[in-house]
């Protein structure tokens, strides 16, 4: 299964890179989105996907055998990453919206200059 997921990650990366190399800002935003998902998957895979239970400590017990649950650490990391990428995506989206509103273009090549033209 890991091989399949590895190839899947590769595919996501290829699509993400292709998207952020576009000149249209919307596509770039989509690309960022795909890339962040793909990266999350790599982290997830690094924690191992031997299928285990959810990382909960059962009622009544004080500890749990780590072998029976999936690794909680990558999950915590990814959780943070998802939330942050949500924030960034929302921000870029708003920025893009304003940018188009002000300049009337969505071509990134027009975004060369820091000064107003």
């Amino acid at each position: 299964m890991e091989y399949v997921i590895a190839v899947f990650i590769g595919l996501l990366y290829a699509c993400g890179v292709y998207l952020i190399l576009r000149r249209s800002i919307v596509k770039v935003i989509l690309g960022v989105f795909v890339l962040s998902n793909a990266t999350n998957l790599i982290i997830f895979l690094s924690g191992g996907i031997q299928r285990g239970g959810a990382p909960f400590i059962p009622e009544g017990a004080e500890t749990v055998d780590p072998a029976t649950i999936s690794d909680p650490l990558p999950q915590a990391l990814i959780l943070t990453a998802i939330v942050i990428s949500l924030g960034i995506s929302a921000y870029i989206l708003a920025l893009k919206y304003r940018y188009f509103d002000v300049t009337g273009t969505h071509d990134l090549d027009q975004l060369k200059n820091t000064d107003q033209r």
Partner: protein, 793 residues
């Protein structure tokens, strides 16, 4: 008492900082009051001089410093005493002189600040017992001299001169820094006293030539040696008191000091000898030669300084006890007469309003004191008895004659330079003070007796000291002897006297003087010829060449920057991806020695594979979708698909978060989609193909990295800790949540900050929209700025 020197040096810097305040209280007399500090230092150093034993040095330790290992320890030996006495003594006189000369200048407080910093740094440098501290003070002198030379910053000329001086001496400073670090690394210590005591010599070290080259570069740039000499005449833009100080005891002499200080550690090799001798002798001759062709008194003096510095470099290069002795004596000689002459130039400039010696004549009657003092200083410069200059020149001749194999080069150039010096001395005196019946007498702006004593005290005292030392040179024997001892000449014992007996050196001196007088008689054709040569050389005018070089450099830098910083977002990314693939690709196949546990991959589940297939199809669809909405929806499928994958492998929290985030994002997208433009194909086929190839390469590469990593870290020691302590320590059953809000709570706090900022950003971006709409209605185009500011902020 021991640490009084470090306190005093600190006091100079403090006084420098406090001058803006002090100036309010003391006004025009600031210079006079400030002169008290160097005066105290001078007195302290004199008392040290009397305590100095012939073979001993003392080190004043302090616990203060820039950094551990860079303590302000001050080393007192003959060398540092000679330099320190001249710097502080002339410093007093310069401050007194300046307090009158600068009286009508603006920003006097700043002037004194720079001057005090300069003085403190020079004194700190010559006494410092640590190479790193020496370097720091060295750099402070460069920076302070930048401000002093460019003091008249309204004039472009002086700004340029200051920049040039800073660039050249700054370059030297970098060389010095490099050399100091290398020396410290090789020897294991930066403390000069230790280096001298252990009599370490770097001559056999493989890096010796590098270190020596760097050190010599530092010295010759600071001391204005050929071919770096050109910044010094430019530095004439500084107010005259500064020039007097820069030339006589400080700044340019720092290079000579460095050579002498470093001599026991690096000196005496063939490279040392020949490079310094060659530079020195060329500089010596060229300086005197160009001086002869100048009209401006200050420029004449500037070029004679270059010549004198060349002499000192040459003497250090000749590298015999006699030549080192001559170098030390000549430093004193030069400091005494050059400081005096520059101050005289200031006096004449002030009194007559010009510094062109050919415009002036017959000043003797009107300024008798100045004339006599000038005469004494010029006698010293020409190297005639009974001034100290005579002894200096005799020693130099003696030193040059000691080397039969190179004296054929040194003697003609050296004697030539001295003949020119004699001629210049006579010319200057003749033109300034001897009346010319055919011309109108010069009208003075100030009569000499109206000038305050402090204004002419400097030249008078320096001339008197020069005369006194010339008549009784024995006083100098102790410090010179001590200085030489610590330059590694254990045997040297010197004796100085005015009368050396009738020998070949004396004959050479007489010949020099006679030829000098002869050149003076034919000075008009000579000056004209030199003037013509200078005009011809203007094609290679070094300052201009230098600034052209700097300009070219800046242009090339701008060009390169434009090439790399082209402003096309996707090409930056392209470069980045290609570089990552190339570099990491090489690295990943070179790593073979990491032992990863052999793992058996988990079995392929058909339904998970199907899920991935669907997700894969939607992502490909999103890439090629023609409509915005379908691309966004396909992206949603991708997000949900990945969430399902998380769910399947037991990451329930992840799945929930992903579902939520995905939904929010979809809603946002759909909300703004109305405002977003249609997808347009902005790129041509070729670039799409190129991007496609690169993307596939990146994809393949990432897959390889993931496979190569062999799904690492299945053994999870950290997670074991979480599993064991999650409930017992943090009282939570959901381990992931406990990690987030307890074990790694600060990370989560950071995450929340990011999210809050993003939310604030989104909010303000949308809010501006409303304003824009309102303003657009009233027909204004202002809001663009708002957005730009936001984007940069």
């Amino acid at each position: 008492m021991d640490n009084i020197l470090s306190l005093l040096i600190g006091l100079i810097f403090l006084a420098g900082l406090a001058t803006p305040l002090l100036y309010r209280i003391w006004q025009k007399n600031t210079g006079i009051y400030l002169a008290v500090i160097p005066l105290i230092i001078f007195v302290v150093l004199i008392s040290e001089l009397f305590q100095l034993a012939p073979r001993e040095s003392s080190v004043l330790e302090t616990t203060m410093g820039f950094l551990p290992g860079m303590e302000f320890a001050f080393r007192i030996d003959g060398l540092s005493l000679i330099f320190g006495l001249l710097i502080s003594g002339i410093g007093v006189l310069i401050l007194l002189h300046a307090s009158y000369y600068m009286a009508k200048y603006e920003r006097q407080a700043n002037f004194y600040t720079y001057l005090m910093f300069f003085m403190g740094a020079m004194i700190g440098m010559v006494f410092s017992d640590n190479l790193l501290v020496l370097f720091v003070f060295w750099e402070i002198t460069s920076v302070a001299s930048f401000f002093l030379i460019g003091f008249d910053h309204h004039a472009e000329k002086s700004r340029q001169a200051a920049l040039q001086a800073l660039l050249i001496t700054g370059f030297g400073g970098l060389c010095l820094f490099f050399a100091v670090i290398l020396t410290g690394n090789i020897t294991g210590t930066y403390v000069i006293s230790e280096l001298l005591e252990q009599s370490i010599h770097l001559g056999n070290h493989p890096y010796y030539y590098l270190i020596l080259t760097l050190t010599i570069l530092a010295a010759v740039t600071k001391s204005a040696q050929f071919p770096f000499h050109f910044w010094l005449p430019g530095a004439m833009q500084a107010p005259t008191p500064v020039s007097a100080y820069l030339h006589s005891a400080t700044m340019v002499n720092a290079g000579i000091f460095l050579l002498m200080r470093i001599y026991p550690i690096m000196g005496g090799t063939m490279m040392w000898k020949y490079s310094l001798m060659l530079t020195g002798v060329i500089t010596m001759f060229l300086g005197a030669f160009f001086a002869m062709g100048q009209r401006d008194f200050k420029r004449i003096l500037a070029f004679t300084t270059i010549s004198a510095l060349g002499t000192m470099t040459l003497l250090v290069g000749i590298d015999t006890p006699d030549s080192l002795k001559a170098a030390l004596i000549f430093f004193i000689v030069h400091g005494l007469y050059k400081g005096g002459l520059f101050m005289i130039a200031g006096i004449i400039d002030k009194s007559t309003g010009t510094r062109d010696i050919y415009d002036l004549h017959g000043l003797f009657k009107k300024m008798p004191v100045t004339a006599i003092v000038t005469l004494l200083a010029l006698i010293s410069m020409a190297g005639l008895p009974p001034m100290l200059g005579f002894i200096g020149k005799e020693l130099i001749y003696e030193a040059k004659m000691q080397l039969p194999d190179v004296s054929w080069l040194l003697l003609p150039l050296g004697v030539g330079a001295n003949m020119l010096m004699v001629a210049i001395s006579i010319t200057v005196f003749y033109e300034l003070f001897i009346p010319d019946k055919k011309r109108k007498p010069i009208e003075l702006k100030y009569r000499e007796r109206d000038l305050p004593l402090r204004f002419i005290l400097g030249p008078i005292l320096l001339a008197v000291v020069g005369l006194f030392l010339g008549l009784s040179p024995k006083i100098l024997e102790i410090p010179v002897d001590n200085g030489l001892y610590f330059m590694g000449n254990q045997m040297a014992h010197i004796s100085l006297s005015l009368w050396h007996g009738f020998n070949d050196v004396l004959i050479l001196s007489i010949f020099t003087v006679l030829s000098g007088i002869f050149i003076f008689y034919i000075r008009r054709p000579v000056t004209r010829m030199i003037g013509r040569i200078i005009t011809w050389l203007d094609h290679l005018h070094l300052p201009t060449l230098f600034s052209q070089l700097i300009n070219k450099y800046l242009k090339t830098a701008a060009k390169n920057t434009n090439l790399l910083q082209h402003g096309y977002h996707r090409f930056y990314l392209l470069t980045f991806f290609l570089a990552v693939i190339a570099l990491m690709g090489i690295q990943i196949f070179r790593i073979t020695d990491i032992q990863l546990p052999e793992l058996t991959p988990s079995p392929i589940k058909i339904h998970v594979a199907l899920l991935l297939l669907v997700t894969a199809i939607s992502v490909i669809f999103a890439v090629f979708a023609k409509s915005r909405l379908s691309a966004i929806l396909a992206m949603g499928v991708v997000g949900y698909g990945i969430a399902m994958l998380y769910l399947y492998y037991g990451a329930i929290d992840l799945a929930i978060t992903q579902f939520l985030a995905e939904t929010v994002l979809m809603v946002l997208f759909v909300m703004v989609i109305y405002y977003l433009p249609e997808f347009a194909i902005l790129s041509n086929k070729k670039s799409r193909l190129r991007d496609g190839i690169i993307s596939v390469a990146v994809g393949v590469f990432v897959t390889l990295v993931v496979l190569k990593a062999k799904f690492l870290n299945l053994e999870t020691p950290i997670s074991e800790f979480f599993a064991a302590n999650s409930y017992t320590e943090a009282h939570g059953r959901n381990i992931v949540n406990v990690i987030l809000v307890d074990f790694r709570a600060l990370d989560t706090l950071g995450e929340l900050t990011v999210l809050t900022l993003a939310a604030a950003g989104v909010y303000s971006l949308f809010r501006f929209q409303i304003k824009t709409l309102k303003k657009k209605k009233s027909g204004q185009q202002k809001p663009r700025e708002n957005v730009d500011n936001k984007m940069h902020g």
